[in-house]
Symmetry: D2
Subunit: 209 residues, 4 copies
């Protein structure tokens, strides 16, 4: 699946997944040793699970995303502990000259903003190239708006928790943009689970809109 651009330099890409709607329904029905009895009854079952907080069947679905986002977004993201992360490290690799720029910044502030970030990168690169500072120390100079990238493996239940908290209007707008892109992606792959989740949890809870 191709990359979806988010913010000025970020992206979301769905790399791999397993366990579509069928897997979640299959797992839920193991409880009764029963089989799916058609879409209508499956939907009723999914609504019941979501309303009662019976989350384990959704763990049969697992997704790996490739994410690129500003550090301050990544820091909110990594608070979600029921997931796996492999992130690029500025101990070992050199930071690329990419940083968050708010899209609604007036021109004169934008200039100041860019100048500050470019100068930060200049100093960072100089410290490493001319003063032999270790990368892991020199990164201390870089702004919190630099981009980082990581693989994120998360199951359907933990993803729903992420979406509930991060599509909320009280979440920071920047991570909310990522969350909304991810919601659209998983609604395509697993429409029964995630459309039902959107309806039962996000809309009924007044989280979206």
């Amino acid at each position: 699946m191709k990359k979806k651009t988010v913010l000025n330099s970020g992206y979301v890409e769905l790399v791999e997944w397993m366990g579509s709607d069928n897997a979640v329904i299959r797992n839920a029905r193991r409880c009764w040793k029963s089989q799916s009895k058609g879409t209508e009854s499956d939907l009723k079952l999914l609504k019941h699970l979501l309303r009662k907080g019976h989350k384990t069947p959704f763990e049969a679905a697992v997704f790996t995303f490739d994410i690129k986002c500003p550090l301050f977004v990544a820091r909110q993201w990594f608070r979600h502990r029921m997931a796996s992360y492999n992130e690029e490290s500025l101990r070992y690799s050199l930071a690329e000259r990419e940083y968050f720029i708010p899209d609604d910044l007036p021109a004169h502030l934008r200039e100041t903003w860019v100048e500050h970030h470019e100068e930060s990168f200049n100093l960072y690169e100089k410290m490493i190239a001319e003063h032999y500072m270790r990368r892991e120390i020199a990164r201390s100079i870089l702004p919190v708006g630099i981009y980082t990238s990581f693989y994120w493996t998360v199951n359907g239940s933990s993803l729903q928790n992420f979406l509930m908290l991060r599509t909320d209007r009280q979440a920071q707008k920047e991570i909310r943009e990522y969350a909304l892109v991810i919601l659209e992606l998983v609604k395509k792959i697993s429409p029964l689970c995630f459309r039902t989740f959107e309806e039962v949890v996000l809309q009924k809870g007044g989280i979206l809109s």
Copy 2:
């Protein structure tokens, strides 16, 4: 993949998986933003990760198994918390007349054993059919050797922990049989990761005899 029989009535079946060797290596290399440089260097990397306890790249591999085993095996299994379980429930479904019989039981003991288990099932079924006892209460009568079944979704890192503890000669023989079957299965799917794991962790640690 077809079911592998374990013990007298159990099985292991690999239902779904994602993230083969390539995914683990891809995730590990994100740290340096580097690409695979061939099998030899990948192997070296995997050995390093296993020796240092850097487990997160193995979490990019996820497996769902269908397991049928005696209750006393399931109770040991469910102690592994970094995994997802959906089990049949004797609150809602009726227990099938299947139970563990040790394979090395002398004939006269085997007769006593079977008789006890059959009588336990007789009483269980009678309590439900004739005395309208709820299933969730009547199951209290059944022996700990009855079989149960569950879906188990587990990532590669947590699976390695399971294999380390449950292929150990000090583990109970019955769960060890399941662990050894699972080890063979994942060595076929993800040979670089799990053969290396077997060599570096299980054999060097003296776990497999």
Copy 3:
């Protein structure tokens, strides 16, 4: 704190805890680097956290319980993975002659029930004493209603999840009795957190009564 009896032979005992109401409020306020501004404003904060699903401050409270319950209750209990368990093992120790007896069993069924359980123990003990069967195998004979005991260490957030699912009228009556005893215990230790939880989550959700 002394043991509370549950069912015919079980108990709940609170062994140790840390992080009372003050710790939860202290942790929640770290977000704003603010201090408690009195009980009324603390209560408002706790309600907000519970309604929005911001659970981490409740993880500053941790409880260790000693629990004795029937196996079928323990099996439901151990499904709660965000907690620590240390259970007695019938691989190493001999089962005591204690088992669940439903309190509403008519006299003639009670006799049959007791007789079956006593005979199961007779066979178990005979297999070990006379036929040198290993304990870990002989336990297979014992009924699912035998008692087991374990230490349970759980934080406030995970405990709330347990209470939400296990005080529910749809939960099995037997585990519900344990959950209700635990709810009373923690309401004494941490009244702001757990009375508010009871009001906002259990009562508003229609879970209790």
Copy 4:
């Protein structure tokens, strides 16, 4: 317990704990329903647990620390998922003018370093005060070396994993300083567990130099 200073402006403070050596030994012995038989036999038991990777008894010990450290240290810290975090938020509070300065920086570089950080703070404060930029956006300007503070609740097993990875000579020097301070603290509170851990895991594994 009083704060221990780490780096130029950070600290570690042990705020609360439960479950000393006795609790760990008590939990381990529940398996056999046995009692402590004196220090020598307890030590032997602890060594056995550590060597075999039987970690759950160590989860009976739980510690809450108050930590202040640079963001780049916090980002490594928060990768440890089996723990609870409550961190100050720059969405709601204003960043204090504190930042990491390497202790071995030559005077002329130190001047450049300080100047860059002070100017970053100047711009950050100006954006908020004069241009009404939201704090959550303006923080993007601040360097990765700013200090943050958080409460960290972690059990003994997860703490051992942290110490194993972060006292390692391959860990970044800055987080290693925190890890070594924490190791000394817990060795005082829980000497049997953590001296044995240091001996069996850190020294035998060649982790501490």
